[in-house]
Amino acid sequence: MSAPRDDPSSLAGLSAADLAAAVARGDRSATQVVEGSLQRARDAGAGRDGLNILLYEDADAASRDHGTSVGVAPGPLFGVPVVVKDNIATTAMPTSCGSRILEGYVSPYDATAIVRLREAGALVIAKSNMDEFAMGSSTENSAFGPTKNPLAPDRVPGGSSGGSAAAVAAGIVRVALGSETGGSVRQPAAFCGVVGVKPTYGRVSRYGLVAFASSLDHIGVFGRTVDDAALCLQTIAGFDPMDSTSRAEPVPDYRAGARSASKGNDFRGIVVGKPKEYFPDDLDSRIREKCDAALEHMKQRGAVIRDVSLPHTGLAIEVYYIIAPAEASANLARFDGVRYGLRIEGHGLRGMYEATRSAGFGAEVTRRILLGTYVLSAGYYDAYYRKAQQVRALIARDFSAVFDSGVDLLFTPTTPTTAFPLGAKSDPYEMYLSDIFTCTANLAGVPAMSLPIGRIDGLPVGGQLIARHFGEQGLFAAAYALELALGEDALR
C-alpha cells in the first residue's frame, strides 16, 4: 500500500488541491485523470470479482462532467476524480443503494452534492458498493456481494460506506462521498486508514441522498488526507433550498483555517476532552495506547487534555436502533413496485407489494423495517419511539454541557476494534456495537471526524475528533495538526 503523501509524481500522490491545479494548468487532461483512476481501479482489483469496491463506472465522466465547466474559471476540484456511494442520486450512473429492489434504477435527477461537485469541476467516475440502504457496518449486506478491505482482503472495509472508503484506501481517488446514519463514514474510514468526516446535521444537503433515517442521515466525505477531505466538504456544504433541514450558516474556508491554525503551536489554547465512556475498561489496550499517544502529541503541542463525561453514551446504541429503524420503516415504504424499481407480481395488489418487497430487500433491511414498524405500532410508540427521542435529547445535552464547559473538541477511538474478518459477526446486535463510539454524533447532530492514528498488526486504527455544531473549522484545524504531528506514526 502507498502511504499518504508519497510519490508526488504519480497522479495518486497528488493531493486533490494539487491535482486540480495541475489539470487547470493543463499538465494533465481530465480524460487522462479519469483513465488513470479507472486504471488504478483495475490494478487494485476493484471490480465485482475482486475487492468489489466499485459497482458502476462512468468512463465518459471527463467529457460529461467537464463539459459543464468549459469557459468558466476552473473550480476548486477541477479535474479531480470522485467516487460516490451508491445511495447518492446520479443521472449518469445507476443508484441502486446496494439493493435488488433498485437494481438498474437510474435517477432522473442529480443529488445537490453531485451538482456542487460538478460545478466545482470534479469528475464523478464511479459509484461504490455499500451495505443495502446503508444498513450495516461491514459492507457485507450488499445485494452485489461484500467489499473487501484493500489493506487486508480477508477483512471487511467497515460500512456502510465501505466501497467509498476502500476506493480512497486503494488509491483510486483522493476523495469520495459516503453517507452516515450511525458512523457509516467514520467507521470504514478507521478500518481503511483514511480520513472520514461527518459534518454537522444540516451542513450538507440531503437532497438526492436516498433516505435511511432522515433525522440521522448525513452525506460525509472521505479524503486521503485531512486537506483532501476539507476541500471536498467545503465544496458540497451549504444551504440548499431543496432540503428543509439544511442550514444557512456560512461555510468557512476549512483548508485556510486549518493551515493557519496549525502553524507553530498547533494546539495552544485548545481544550481537548477525553470522555471516559469512550475509554471503557474493556477497550482493546492497543487501541487505548494509540489514542493515548495521539493525545500526548496534542498535549505536547499545547493542548489541555481534560477528562470529561458524557453520561448517556451507554444508551446510544439502544436509542439509535429504535429511531433509525422507525424512520427507515417509513422511508423504505416507497419501494412498492409501482413507479420504479423491482416489481414481482403476486396475488392482487397486496401480493405484488409483498412479493416485490420480500424479493427486493435483504435480511438486514427486512429486520430493521420490522423492528421500526413494531416500535411505532399502536401501544408501543410511547415505550420505544417517544422514550428513545427523549433519551436522544439527553445524549445531545451531554455534548452541549461538555462544550459549554470550555471543552473545544473531544477525542475518542473511532471504533472499539480494527477491521474484523469477513463473516465474523453474524449476530445483528454484535454488529450494531461497531457503531458504539460513532452513533452518538449522529444522534446529537454534531460534526465528527476519523483520522488514522496508527496500526495494529498492520490494520489501521482511527482516532475520532468531535466538535460542537458547525465547529467543522476547529475540527479540521486540529485534525490537520494531529496529522502533521503523527506523521509516519499513523502508519505504524
Binding site: 437510474v106 439502544e318 420490522l370 422514550k387
Partner: protein
C-alpha cells in the same frame, strides 16, 4: 415486552413484507434479542425532557414561494416504471375496496 409470532405476522403485514413461515419464526427470536437490549431505556429518567423536543429536527421549516418551474426529470416516467400505459402507472386491480378507508 416480547414479540410473538402473531406480532411478527402483524407488523410484516403492515410493512407489506412477505415472510416464509420459517423466516417469520426466526424473526421472533431475532427481534426479541434486539428488543431485550432496548428495555434499558425504560429505566432512564427523562422527566427533564420537554415534550417539544420529541420532534427529531430542530429549527423552523423554511418556506418556499408558490411558483414553478417544476423540478425537471432527466428520464421519462416510462423509463423508470415497471408498468405504465397511456401515462398511468398500472397496478393489480383492487378486487375489493380494501384499504379504501385509508385514503385521505
Amino acid at each position: 415486552m416480547s414479540v410473538t409470532l402473531d406480532d411478527v405476522r402483524h407488523i410484516a403485514s403492515l410493512a407489506r413484507l412477505g415472510l416464509s413461515e420459517p423466516r417469520a419464526e426466526a424473526l421472533v427470536a431475532e427481534l426479541n434479542t434486539i428488543l431485550q437490549h432496548m428495555d434499558v431505556l425504560s429505566e432512564v429518567d427523562t422527566s427533564t425532557v420537554a415534550d417539544e423536543s420529541i420532534t427529531s429536527v430542530s429549527g423552523a421549516a423554511p418556506l418556499r414561494l408558490d411558483a414553478g418551474p417544476p423540478i425537471p426529470l432527466a428520464r421519462s416516467r416510462e423509463a423508470m416504471a415497471p408498468r405504465m400505459q397511456d401515462g398511468f402507472f398500472l397496478v393489480p386491480r383492487l378486487s375489493t375496496h380494501e384499504d379504501l378507508e385509508a385514503s385521505s
